[in-house]
Amino acid sequence: MKQQRWIRAGWPPIVVVILVLLIWQLAVTWGNTASWLLPSPLKIMTEGTTDMARVWLHTQATIKIMLIGFVVGSGLGLLLASILHIVPGFKAGFYPLLILSQNVPTIALGPLLIILFGFGVLPKIILISLVCFFPVTMATLDGFMQTDRMMYNYMQMLGASKRQIFFKLELPHALPFLFSGLKISATYSVMGAVISEWLGGGEGLGYYMILQKSSFRADREFVAILVIVGLSLLFFWLIALLEKWIIRWNVKRSS
């Protein structure tokens, strides 16, 4: 039943994608565009398979810094949200600054980070962490603030300590919110990783893209873009799967 609905909702966009690819292929073959400028879908596919070994190596490097940056950034984000929530006065003092800090495009900090920390992995991980921590902090803080009044009142009537209220009520209550933050961070982390690799270093999908740009290999750029999109989707899907596995009590809300 559910699968049937998925198929029914799934086929129109698939048909659209196939049509677009078909028009693209025909336009390139009959339209006389230079293949180095706009390669056809078929050419991209063949290039992807021939260069697969090298692309895979770079992909591995990107996945590595992406995961480290994501874990560090989200972990710090959760920690920061908890501290802002628990320590009286901190939220009033830091929350507006936190919002303001997001007006700084994190990517603009890239070159500065490279000057400060060199061309190694460290500045890249810092950059990805900076991109990842904000959505997690905001979503988790939101979750803390929306704690169910009835349950909170009940815990108070029991005489629960602040610590007990935090760990037994507020933190588990904020988990669904934390996950919506994590899903945003997951896609951000892929973007952060690629951009940090544009800036320097000798490996990763970002580096591969810069390299292909210098030799006008548009086909290989398309291969890299495809891999990045795939990576983004895969990571998002993994987090969504983890969410479904951990948060089983939300079924009530949907019914």
């Binding site: 009835m150 009940y154 009537m157 029991l158 005489g159 037994k168 009590w249």
Partner: protein
């Protein structure tokens, strides 16, 4: 000695320009093993009274005594059952039952053993590992009651526990709660809007007035224990019901004239 004693509690809250009096000169007591109900018109400051007993609020004046000791403003000394079950949706039924014990600092193993022993006795055997959302409203209230019952504090405060249930479930739950209570006779302070419920279940009833609330009358309910549902047909039951109804109606009319 009385389990709980409230000595001339007054409570006012600042509003706009003057102080609004919510509770005025409330004195009452709950004796060891006694089932005492508080009944009053809605908005008569019953939840404020509960917050004072629970120690969340320090009254403007007056004292709360537990076993003869002054405990005004101290938290964690009563076991509490709220109006809504307030079960934690991420905890399984047995984990919800042990929550109050956990907060009181009882070892998890011991608390779980007690929960597993009791759940089948209240008709929830087999639901130990389920999440609360699979239970009906009445079953959720049973879990909530069990959570309060297994909590180590001796005095239980029940805040309109059946207010959100439909009439049929409500009657069933009243009989169920009485049956369990008559087996272990904890001291209970029970807040309700329903006159029948108060008469059917309690040993004594305090009738509260409208704001500022004060005790209008204290009634002793003479029916024998264990209580049978048949007492609701009793002439004396009807007479007492009409008497309380009269008291409350006067309060509501009094309120409307203002």
């Amino acid at each position: 000695m009385s389990k709980l004693e409230l000595k001339s509690i007054h409570q006012s809250f600042p509003s706009k320009k003057q102080m609004t009096k919510v509770l005025s000169e409330i004195s009452l007591q709950v004796n060891e093993g006694e089932f005492v109900s508080i009944i009053g018109p809605s908005g008569s400051g019953k939840s404020t009274l509960f917050h004072i007993i629970g120690g969340l609020l320090t009254p403007s004046s007056g004292a709360v005594l537990l076993d003869g000791n002054a405990v005004t403003g101290q938290k964690g000394l009563i076991s509490y059952m709220p109006q809504q079950p307030a079960l934690f949706p991420w905890r399984s039924i047995e984990e919800n039952v042990i929550l109050a014990q956990e907060v009181a600092g009882i070892a998890r193993d011991q608390a779980l053993a007690a929960a597993r022993e009791w759940l089948p006795r209240v008709g929830l055997g087999g639901y130990e590992k389920e999440l609360p959302h699979v239970l009906s409203g009445g079953m959720q209230q049973r879990v909530s009651f069990l959570r309060a019952l297994l909590s180590p504090q001796e005095l239980m405060c029940l805040d309109e526990p059946f207010g959100a249930l439909d009439a049929l479930t409500r009657q069933e739950m009243q009989a169920w709660l009485l049956n369990i209570w008559e087996q272990n006779k904890r001291s209970i302070l029970f807040v309700t809007h329903s006159i029948e419920e108060a008469l059917y279940m309690s040993d004594r009833i305090y009738v509260l007035s409208n704001k500022p609330s004060t005790v209008l009358e204290e009634l002793i309910v003479p029916f024998a224990r264990p209580r049978q549902e048949a007492i609701m047909q009793d002439a004396l039951f009807q007479e007492m019901r009409l008497h309380i109804q009269g008291l409350l109606r006067k309060e509501v009319q009094h309120d409307q004239r203002h």
